[in-house]
């Protein structure tokens, strides 16, 4: 995972609630077995509308996405995160996020910032009116600021996620440091729990 300490720049004001991951990346693009190149398909159906916000050149190349409540709800497809990341977005600010989406963001180093509704609304209207005005998300200080205005808000971040973001740490590598603890746990696991070994057994074919 790459290191992220600060994201600064303009924003894309996506002023909709309950944006589900089917909208972020429709199913027809989930057949790809690669991890890259999803950006051009982000918001595929909504983008057909010329007035959709990602088509607005004033917001092109913005590293921050502003969204409304429950952003990223629905399917667990991490392709949604890859698509947003591939658009060049490095941080998303919203009043709330879908749980699985938010976790997926934390695994790839996409910063999610939860701010109260009125603060998101403020940033949303400011970005609509002054699209070039930058916003700064500081992971270390846990703040969102609007330079030159004195506007600053603090946000909460899981301390472990923050640690991983700031140091660009690979989650699996961290867990594998505790492989002895995993082995010890396995040694005392309930032997009545099922295994899938029997699943290799051939059964009747059909079709």
């Amino acid at each position: 995972m790459k290191k992220v300490s600060q994201v600064a720049g303009k924003a894309i004001p996506l002023n909709r609630a309950d944006v589900d991951t089917d909208q972020i990346i429709p199913k027809q693009f989930l057949k790809r077995i690669e991890r890259s190149g999803f950006g051009e398909f982000a918001f595929f159906d909504w983008k057909k509308d010329p007035s959709f916000v990602t088509n607005d050149p004033r917001h092109a190349g913005a590293p921050i996405l502003l969204a409304q409540q429950n952003f990223g709800c629905g399917s667990s497809r991490e392709h949604a995160v890859w698509a947003i990341e591939d658009m060049g977005v490095a941080a998303i600010i919203a009043p709330s996020f879908g749980d699985i989406f938010r976790t997926n963001c934390s695994k790839v180093g996409l910063v999610t910032v939860q701010l109260p509704q009125q603060d998101v609304d403020f940033l949303m209207s400011r970005s609509e009116e002054l699209p070039d005005a930058p916003i700064v998300v500081d992971v270390a200080k846990q703040t969102v600021t609007v330079p030159g205005t004195g506007w600053e808000r603090r946000f909460e971040v899981d301390p472990f996620v923050k640690h991983r973001l700031l140091n660009g740490l690979d989650d699996i590598g961290l867990t594998l440091q505790h492989v002895d603890a995993i082995a010890a746990f396995e040694a005392k696991r309930d032997p009545l729990k099922p295994t899938t070994e029997g699943a290799f057994k051939e059964t009747a074919k059909f079709g």
């Binding site: 609630a17 429709p26 057949k31 159906d45 009545l192 729990k193 699943a199 079709g207």
Partner: protein, 467 residues
């Protein structure tokens, strides 16, 4: 005497491999289910980092999301789908993971095949790269959907770092009216808590109505937990659970069975245990539900009318409702029973089990699908299909004019050729009515299998309680 705990906390605590202040708990995963869509990048990353699958014997793969539901002896016409399925095969072979492939009778939707073989059991932690993994909670398991990075994490370590969730009790008390199903219960729950009401929580479903549901019904309820924002929802195991599991292939047998049941009986929420939030619904007040919008919370009883957006409680809900009505091409005030449909989809991990097909077949028996309506049944698994055929349900559906297909996720998400055309309106037993979910421009109304079957016959929604 220790603090009273909820069943959620009991299962959680039993799976903690490592707990350190300032870090999420490292949880052991008892079963990892894998499918073709969310796993290729995870296996590829294992290859690149030189890592192995730690416990292939706690892992099971199938292909379900993009498999065709038509004759499987014909080569897959979609090269990308075919490649993804082929990749699943190659990865399973390389990493020695068991795979129930398309010609295996045990193949089917990942959340149907594990319970029906008795692999899903009380007290387990179960994950899968699919948000409807919450289905397995019906057995008193802690089961939740994960993304591809977490799939890779579980493959490599059989564990996941997880922050401790908040707990929510959803009680459904009283009894259900005849014709009201588990699907209507969960739609009513989501309508009550909202699509984001469960964020950060794990739900325990409680109360007499939940207790009275079959395992199939409990799976339907737990399945849609994610549509209310919660990653996992469960039902404490009881005699219904034990009766369902007994004798199934992967369930403990002989003396082990008795010992396992004793352990499972301890999986209840202790008297005095506290939930962060409690929501109560009355069973008698739940009508057969129909969604009218593009989120699963946008539903009403079948006797109601499409609500007015201006009556929504918040500005954002009003705006969402307006967008939904526009997309769905509906006008506020239209009677639900006046909404005509073009398509019917009976299937999915929500309602593709044998009990669902039996219930729907009773409604269509001896009748014909309305003129102009295309209806299809997609059994949830090869075994569901086989059982249904043994009971003659396929003949009932075929004679009524339904198509009878091979198992898979099919038109729940339309990754295979089973999709709605733009503007088509579908009565669907699936779980998501999102814009374009069943095909770009398609309009989905979520209903129970009984309601879908009745709509197929009438050509519009009808109140199944009146049949």
């Amino acid at each position: 005497m220790s603090e009273p705990r909820t069943i959620i906390e009991k299962i959680w605590d039993e799976h903690v491999v490592r707990r350190e202040p300032g870090e999420p708990d490292l949880l052991y995963i008892d079963l990892h289910l894998v499918h073709e869509v969310t796993s290729p990048q995870a296996f590829e990353s294992l290859r690149m980092t030189g890592r192995r699958v730690r416990r292939p014997d706690l892992t099971l793969a199938t292909v379900d999301h993009n498999v065709p539901t038509t004759d499987r002896s014909i080569p897959n016409p979609d090269p990308l789908s075919a490649q993804q399925i082929e990749t699943m095969r190659a990865n399973c072979k390389e990493f020695e993971v068991p795979l129930w492939d398309i010609f295996d009778i045990r193949q089917g939707i990942v959340h149907i095949i594990s319970p029906e073989r008795g692999l899903t059991q009380p007290g387990m932690t179960i994950v899968c790269g699919d948000s409807h993994t919450s289905t397995h909670g019906a057995f008193g398991a802690l089961a939740f959907g994960i993304g591809t990075s977490e799939v890779e994490h579980v493959l490599a370590t059989q564990t996941l770092p997880q922050g401790r969730p908040r707990t929510m009790a959803v009680e459904v008390i009283g009894t259900l009216q005849t014709g009201v199903t588990a699907k209507d219960v969960v739609l009513a729950v989501i309508r009550t808590i909202g699509v984001d009401g469960g964020i950060g929580h794990v739900i325990e479903y409680r109360g007499d109505v939940i207790r009275s549901l079959s395992m199939e019904g409990r799976m339907t309820v737990c399945n849609m937990t994610i549509e209310g924002g919660a990653r996992a929802g469960l039902v404490a195991p009881d005699e219904t659970t034990f009766a369902y599991l007994k004798g199934r292939e992967f369930a403990p047998a002989g003396e082990d069975w008795e010992r396992a049941v004793e352990r499972w009986k301890a999986l209840v929420t202790d008297e005095g245990a506290r939930f962060h939030r409690t929501v109560t619904l009355r069973g008698e007040e739940i009508e057969p539900h129909v969604t009218w919008g593009t989120t699963p919370a946008q539903s009403v009883g079948v006797t109601a009318v499409v609500p007015k957006p201006e009556e929504a409680p918040t500005a954002s809900a009003r705006e969402t409702a307006q967008r939904s009505l526009k997309y769905m091409d509906l006008k506020a005030g239209t009677r639900i029973q006046d909404i005509r449909i073009d398509r019917v989809f009976l299937g999915s991990c929500t309602n593709g089990r044998i009990e669902d097909l039996r219930a729907a077949s009773k409604i269509v028996q001896g009748k014909r699908v309305a003129a102009g309506v295309k209806a299809m049944v997609v059994p949830g698994s090869g075994l569901v299909k086989q059982q249904a055929e043994a009971e003659g349900l396929d003949a009932i559906f075929r004679e009524a004019g339904f198509e009878w297909r091979e198992p898979g996720c099919s038109m729940c998400l339309g990754m295979n050729p089973d999709i709605l055309l733009p503007g088509e309106r579908c009565a669907s037993t699936s779980n998501r009515n999102f814009e374009g979910r069943q095909g770009a421009g398609g309009r989905t109304h979520l209903v129970s299998p009984e309601m879908a079957a009745a709509a197929a016959i009438a050509g519009h929604f009808v109140d199944v309680r009146k049949l």
